[in-house]
Point group: C2
Chain length 343, copies 2
């Protein structure tokens, strides 16, 4: 026997599924206009709707929830992406259960198992690694997954990412336009698409500009943190590589660069210019206000949610990946090259 | 018949519940040492453990998950609180499903209904209002709930909050020590305990210091946002109330005050000193670095999680509320009172 879903009840009653849900629950019924609530309850009875989604999800494997897997909510990059995902899911009648993995594989695996066993319909992952065992497993078991911000090496999983390579080109071009000829890169972890793509794009941009692009112009940071950026910048400043411009893999690494410069009595941008990446909240208010590459955070999340909903509606639709355009935002951390630094 | 829980299997096999969970799931089994996995699977079979928590939660109403209800993840105050909650829950074998309510009652009610129907064992709410219908309902139906950051007017619901009144006293004392005699307050929304408690404490502190404390020295902001702070500060600056010091209800309101001062050609702290509240991430990097009241974000979350676990272990335990101490962090946004402003 077909059991009516909340959406069918809502449709028949002519209300939004969220309203139907409230009307059918004692804890929230009072939030719905009494006449409307009565109509919804009547329809639910007629259709034999069961208000217990656990019982129902056992029968139908549907829960109108998706899992949203985030590496670290204390990184200000992610909350606006979460916002974008929710902005699209909610009007479609979906909840997002957010889990914070702390970039740890075992926490992620536990959370995904737990969510799958509660029949979430799909996942948005912001934690993708280029080589990611759990994502491979999910792809093989045909669980609907969309990646956000980062992509992976696995062909079948769609991703919504910023145009990392274009952003790095803009950052290098901006420094070149300011007269910089000696530019270095603080690269993020190379097991992420953002880290690897931005690093490759940096090398390519230097080559395209006819600038020195030896391997020692790129420092690989172990994490995406301010601390790792400060360490990396310190190592480069203490080396004999001359440079006046820094392209950082993200804004936190760039903040670390600020710190290392200050520690050595150098001024940004008078001595060294620094460009970040992401345009995280508050980065316009730091000192100096950071020149950075703005990625459309909310839109990246929204687009990922749209792609997941499309997959849920039509599982046979061919997977595709989406690059969203980025823009250069010029603020106070970049200025003309200081010739004394490379003379 | 008693059905074995994951914890019982883990205990018998001498492993952490998370390890048992992985060993009992095909998607994650390979992450566990093969000998250990085989032992866990044998124990599970002996105990008749069912690996489907949906089926099990129908029987036992246990899910080893709790709901974590946050008003707005893009407010940097909340991610470190989430971190604290998770730091305590995870070693105890619990997942936190985070929901973001956008401070909207209907979104909150939907999410709570959905989580309850999936048998989460309890909730941590960061969204509490002084008068909060949903919290009343939950209290009446004896659902374990702990409030974090904000408390409510409902007696039975325990809360872990910063010592708001002490923080405001410290802020006023700091300004008085710098020679300020004319101090105003940008108060947050008065339907929250943080907004109301801080406002009352401000009035009391002025009175204790023997300073003017007319009602017009307090501006009530509609939201906790930078925009609301800028509007409020603008209104006070354009009025004929003389002042050299501002105590803001939180850091975002204080950032708005910075903005309104700059717009009017005034300098912080030369013309007006500003004290924030919360010490959110990045607020030490803004210009000028903000003097503020530091609340122990991570510890507030951790303590709330501990109280919830205690409630789950012993539902008869008498509810209690906890105030955590705060500290004044002096940075660049406060300085000596400018006598010209009040002369």
């Amino acid at each position: 026997m077909h059991r009516a879903t909340l959406r069918e009840v809502a449709e028949r009653a002519g209300v939004h599924p969220a309203t139907a849900s409230r009307a059918l629950n004692a804890a929230t019924e009072s939030m719905v206009n009494a006449t409307t609530a009565a109509r919804i309850q009547k329809v639910a009875k007629e259709l034999g709707y069961s208000p217990n989604p656990i019982a129902r999800s056992l029968k139908t494997s549907r829960s109108t929830s998706i899992g949203l897997v985030i590496p670290d909510l204390t990184n200000p990059l992610f909350p606006p992406i979460v916002r974008g995902v929710e902005d699209v899911l909610r009007p479609a009648g979906y909840n997002a259960w957010i889990v914070n993995t702390d970039s740890q594989n075992d926490i992620e695996a536990d959370a995904v198992v737990s969510l799958r066993q509660r029949n979430v319909e799909g996942f948005v992952f912001a934690t993708a690694l280029l080589d990611h065992a759990l994502l491979k497993d999910l792809a093989e078991s045909s669980v609907p997954v969309v990646l956000v911000n980062r992509s992976t090496g696995i062909a079948d999983i769609p991703a919504v990412t910023p145009d990392d390579a274009a952003g790095i080109q803009m950052a290098v071009q901006h420094l070149v336009d300011l007269g910089h000829r000696e530019i270095v890169h603080l690269a993020g972890p190379q097991d992420t698409s953002t880290g690897a793509t931005r690093r490759k794009a940096f090398r390519q941009a230097l080559e395209d500009q006819g600038l020195t692009h030896d391997a020692d112009r790129i420092h690989l940071c172990e994490t995406w943190s301010e601390e790792a950026g400060a360490r990396g910048m310190g190592i480069m400043l203490d080396s004999d590589i001359p440079f006046t411009g820094v392209v950082a893999g993200n804004d936190q690494l760039a903040l670390g660069a600020f710190e290392a410069l200050t520690e050595r009595g150098l001024t940004c941008p008078a001595d060294v210019s620094v460009v970040g990446f992401n345009d995280i909240p508050f980065i316009d208010k730091v000192s100096p206000p950071m020149t950075t590459i703005r990625i459309p955070h909310v839109e990246i999340g929204a687009e990922a949610a749209r792609m997941l909903l499309e997959q849920l509606d039509d599982p046979t639709r061919h997977p595709r990946s989406v690059l969203l355009p980025v823009t250069l935002v010029v603020r106070g951390s970049t200025g003309p090259a200081n010739p004394a630094r490379t003379a």
